[in-house]
């Protein structure tokens, strides 16, 4: 069917339109990682749900997909926690209060937190805690809805534990926080070992557990396997995926992981959807 009727230009998809934001504060988190706090230059903050992503852009350089790490209920600013890696994130982590950049979004599937009465286990590796931070705040806001809430956060070393200064507050609000580092180090009396191992040792998994997992691919599937072996229904394990998201609209093809287009079908998916794909090298 053809229709040669060039009428009105279709309304621009809001996800394609950059919204200029201004940095209001920069928080140095851990080595190479900063959190940018920002507000839009015009109009109100856009609404989002935990784990949703913004395409965050640096003038003349490009955009990177960054999850919004501030609480979804925070109405006075958004925060993006960014690790310096390539040219784009290097430019973004150099931003200073007063600087402008842009955001497109939010896009992607959020965490399903409709988990009343269940034991919630959050497992995060390194900067993987960033897309989980807003989930932590959402869970703690309605803490009484859940039977228990536990966070296992792992990092290379103690200085790489993200948001470490917030753990105490989270504990006070009813989140059992277990932090662990990969290798022993002087002055560290806490746990040593990978997130998956700590999850196994804690014995926090069972049929009543629902898990939210984010970290490197290998950490994700090792942890998910421990959970499933411990009796957690595979469908009750939610994971977030990281691939090269560029458009955020499912149009550009970059963020494919096997059958999934991550920006469209994810970043949060149920473990069975990726259990096989995550194990294939370079998929």
């Amino acid at each position: 069917m053809s229709a040669v009727a060039p009428s009105a230009t279709p309304t621009a998809d809001p996800l394609l339109v950059p919204r200029v934001h201004e940095v209001t504060a920069v928080i140095q988190e851990i080595p190479d990682v900063v959190t940018i706090r920002c507000i839009p230059v015009e109009g109100a903050l856009f609404d989002f749900q935990p784990a949703q992503i913004g395409m965050v852009g640096a003038f003349g350089i490009g955009e990177a997909a960054i999850s919004i790490s501030s609480p979804a209920t925070e109405s006075s600013f958004h925060e993006y926690t960014i690790r310096r890696a390539g040219a784009i994130t290097s430019a973004l982590t150099r931003l200073q209060p007063g600087d402008q950049f842009w955001v497109r979004g939010p896009f992607g599937t959020p965490w399903d937190l409709d988990l009343d009465g269940r034991d919630i286990l959050i497992a995060a590796g390194g900067i993987g805690l960033a897309p989980l931070r807003s989930a932590v705040y959402a869970l703690l806001k309605y803490r009484e809805r859940y039977a228990s809430t536990t966070l296992v956060i792992g990092a290379r070393s103690s200085e790489h534990l993200l948001y470490a200064n917030e753990y105490e507050t989270w504990r006070e609000h009813g989140l059992a926080v277990f932090d662990t580092i990969d290798h022993p180090e002087p002055g560290w009396s806490g746990r040593v070992g990978f997130v998956s191992e700590v999850v196994r040792e804690l014995g926090v998994s069972g049929p009543s557990t629902s898990a939210l997992v984010c970290g490197p691919d290998i950490m994700t599937f090792l942890t998910a396997d421990v959970l499933v072996a411990g009796g957690v229904p595979p469908e009750q394990v939610q994971v977030t995926l990281e691939r090269n998201m560029q458009c955020g609209n499912g149009l550009c093809g970059h963020c494919q992981l096997g059958p999934l287009i991550v920006c469209r079908d994810g970043p949060v998916v149920r473990y069975p959807a990726v259990a096989a794909s995550l194990r294939v090298k370079e998929l």
């Binding site: 040669v4 950059p18 609209n249 550009c252 469209r264």
Partner: protein, 395 residues
């Protein structure tokens, strides 16, 4: 001799025709060379741009044309794995060639497309979104595989939750004149990889070039009301039944010409991620991305941000990308797919396998362009066949 001359005047002596003037609507019309000139002039007056096949740069490309004189009269080509040669036929046939490297993709999803311009003034960012012109285009020469590819491409860019506005505008302004394939290349496999060589939907007007013993004629049918109104305004004669029988005969002989075939289990075997054959392909593949450039459904794009010399203006352009490049899979620490085997696997397993999961169909139409334009002659049908063999047999 030259009995068809009578046809064009509408006097069909003794020939039963399909549809009667003044009675039921006509389904098939007949054109000759002069009518083709009139037809293209009509398109020129009706649309902002008329694009058609042109023999240029040693290949047949889709380019803007001024008149029927620009068509590749007397040209055909020879194609094989990694090879394309333009040849002269010594005939007056205009459409007796196989596919060139261009498909409708270049028109509806251009290689470069403006996205925005951003200006920085005293630290303030000002964004100007690019507007996509509403140019109307008639394209002559789309084959059945190109029409199917357009459908597939359209589903990737407008079929989901979000629509690419540039694609939507370009598609909306498109008027398609299909030409039935009379000359499939040896690299084609649309009978097993797609819908076959005859355009049966997706066009406004479709034309069969008939190499009739009495001379070359063009049989015309329409697919849309717009197509019908244009054709009716030319006052062509209805086509006699013998011409249609000749057309059937021509199509039947084409279907015997296909050498290659896409194995039926393609969607399954391309998902064998650990198959050793991926390494075998990788030893030949240059990861140049030619296959993705000529593929009529490969839709991947990248954003290119360029800063002006003043340092205060940045333009963003959407450009074709290829899953064969390292940057394509870039994540924080570096490329995710570094080995050529993983990149070839991504392309083929997506095209023939996971495309089904993402868009409900295969991403291949059997046009064979990737086979012709691969500089080292990698043949996707052969690779699929190898992937389908038991692993020991490949060793």
């Amino acid at each position: 001799m030259r009995r068809w001359l009578e046809v064009e005047s509408g006097v069909v002596s003794g020939e039963p025709s399909i549809g009667q003037p003044g009675g039921q609507p006509i389904d098939w019309w007949v054109m000759r060379a002069g009518d083709l000139h009139r037809f293209i002039s009509l398109l020129k007056s009706e649309f902002d741009e008329v694009i058609g096949p042109v023999a240029v740069d040693g290949v047949i490309r889709l380019r803007p044309i001024e008149s029927a004189d620009d068509l590749p009269t007397g040209f055909t080509e020879q194609q094989e794995t990694g090879s394309y040669r333009l040849l002269e036929t010594g005939t007056s046939l205009r459409f007796s060639y196989g596919l060139g490297p261009d498909s409708l993709k270049s028109i509806v999803h251009p290689p470069r497309s403006p996205v925005w311009t951003m200006r920085r003034h005293d630290g303030t960012l000002i964004v100007d979104q690019a507007l996509h012109g509403t140019t109307t285009r008639a394209v002559i020469g789309a084959r059945a595989c190109d029409l199917r590819a357009l459908d597939i491409l359209e589903r990737t860019q407008t079929g989901g939750q979000h629509t690419d506005p540039a694609f939507a505008v370009h598609r909306q302004g498109l008027f398609l004149v299909a030409i039935d394939c009379s000359h499939p290349a040896p690299t084609c496999f649309c009978d097993t990889g797609g819908d076959g060589p005859v355009a049966d939907h997706g066009y406004d007007i479709a034309i069969t070039e008939l190499d009739h013993p009495n001379g070359i004629v063009y049989l015309v049918r329409v697919g849309t009301d717009h197509g019908r109104s244009l054709i009716e305004s030319l006052h062509l004669a209805p086509a006699p039944r013998t011409f249609l029988e000749h057309r059937d005969h021509q199509h039947r002989s084409i279907s015997r010409e296909f050498i290659r075939e896409l194995p039926k289990d393609a969607a399954k075997v391309v998902r064998l991620a650990d198959h050793p054959h991926w390494n075998d392909v990788a030893e030949r593949c240059l990861t140049c991305g030619n296959c993705t450039a000529v593929c009529p459904t490969c839709f991947c794009t990248d954003m290119d941000d360029i800063v002006g010399l003043d340092g205060e203006t940045a333009t963003r352009t959407r450009v074709w990308d290829t899953c064969f490049s390292m940057e394509y899979s870039h994540l924080g620490p570096g490329p995710h797919r570094t080995s050529p085997a993983a990149r070839y696997r991504q392309w083929l397993s997506h095209k023939l396998g996971t495309w089904h999961d993402q868009f409900g169909e295969s991403g291949c139409v059997g046009c064979g362009r990737c086979i012709t334009w691969c500089p080292v002659g990698i043949d996707l049908t052969a690779e699929v066949e190898s992937l389908g063999r038991p692993v020991e047999a490949n060793a």
